[in-house]
Amino acid sequence: MELLIDLAIILAKVIGLTFMVVLPLVPLSVYFERRFSAIIQDRVGPNRVGIPLTLFGAKKDFHLFGLVQPMADGLKLFLKEDFTPNYVRKSFYWLAPALTVIPALVTVCVVPFGSPITVNGEEIKLVIADLDVGPLFVFAVSSLTVYGITLAGWASNSKYPFIGGVRSTAQMISYEIALGLSIIPLLLYYGELNLSKIVQFQADHGWLLLPLWGHAEGPPLAEKLLFLVPALIAFVIFTTSIFAETNRMPFDLPECETELVGGYHTEYSSMKFAMFFMGEYAAMVIGSALVVTLFLGGWSLGFGLDDSISALPFGGLIHMGVFMAKLIAFILFFILVRWTVPRFRYDQLMRLGWVIFFEAALINVFLAAFVIAAPDLGWISTIVGLVLLGIVTGGLIWVLKTSEPESSPNSGLLGQS
């Protein structure tokens, strides 16, 4: 009986959180993508699709601000002909779209959506699986997405998709390192790999990037403020790497229309294309969920209000609302970046990943360690350590500068004469 109840709770969590919270976020973010990019570009965007009351004799349509547009898009893709070119490698061609969606949805299970709620005297955590290796699990599973993309590129048996797939692999490998290294400072600071506990820590002691409350116990304010320096560096590196991992705009080399027609999904149509689309947006949702959880306090409302909200009968749901608001705000930031930063060139992307972010993340780990260990080390050791770190950093920058190929003032056609 106990087991049955437990199973029912798990099933309810899976259905509730994955299929009723995250999956609807995918069409919602598509809608925001279209609407917000329209607003940025001084346009209107899709604002018509709604309930066609005029068909039933009413004076005006009920347009719902076009919120139904993604559904109409989905319906259109669903009804389109599912065309399989006859030169593709069929089994992989069919497998690839599923392989991009599933990892993105699996990673949902470690994201804490809210503080625990109490039902019938039993505490239920708003996490599907409260793993003690949260971020590691996310990295491990979400990097499987690249299999889908690479397989799609290879199985399409055509040039541009293949280049897209290869690019995606290289990009994933380069940025996975920076991604993993950049959160090590946070793990040192939290002393914890469990995402729920990380959020609880931020609720109690202030968000990582906004440590303004909860100074009674835990680390003192000075240390928190000092830790802002490595935290900000980690935030920049992590966010940028997430952009690269999700193939979003400044790094959307695997699918750039202008160079590769459509990249890895050139040969796909109908629902298979829709699955790539869904996988991409699901990855974006998960990526922003991870950033919000690690850096921006997850479901915590902040300002020391979290304990009183958790004490409410369904305070967990309020926290879930807060988390959703933060998530959507960060998705909007994703879109803003898309229309601000032009696409990187491929060699620039690789240079940024291997030469700059990798080293910066590595130095950042030591910097964070010094900030955390400073009270125990005493003055002299800390200063000596920082000087050593400064020398290493300077050396790295010097190597970077000297290894740069000497570029003539006018390279290219004009520089040859």
Binding site: I39, I40, Q41, D42, R43, V44, L336, T340, P409, N410
Partner: protein, 188 residues
Amino acid sequence: MAVVKIKRPDLRTGEKLYLGALFKGFLVTLKHAIDSLRGKTRGAKAMGSSGLGATMQFPEQRWDDSMPDYYRGAPALVTDEQDRERCVSCQLCEFICPPKAIRIVPGEIPSDDPWAKVEKRPKEFEIDMIRCIYCGMCEEVCPEQAIYLRKDYLISGSSREEMVHDKKKLYEIGGKRVGLVNKWNELK
């Protein structure tokens, strides 16, 4: 002119860091977003914006008033002030039409008609609006000033047959045009 060599500007360290420029870019895009949400986009008033961005929302708002005089819309046939068909079916437009959209079947005017001296008028005159490219060559070539490009731009149909404008439809669009050449009537 000789080749002018342009040196790329030397960037300062701050500029090489890229983050400042990124931040400025965010401000620019955000400014556009906020302006268009407030209905204050540059040029919104001149474009007759609907309040969001600079876009005119089509079926409700039309740009007909600001359409230029030289706008080339649907080609149409016109009658003169005595309701005579101007077209004498010389077939020059059919000949010049680049996409071959025009098809004319010439017909004779019977001798008991008051306009018998004109001798010919089209029996059938069809313009296939799927083919028409709105180039205006028919208007240019017509010696009788019988065919004109009007400002109609909403030409739609649910079948290919509907998209072929026949003589009746063409005169309906064209209407009457007065005060041009009066070659055939007594007004001179």
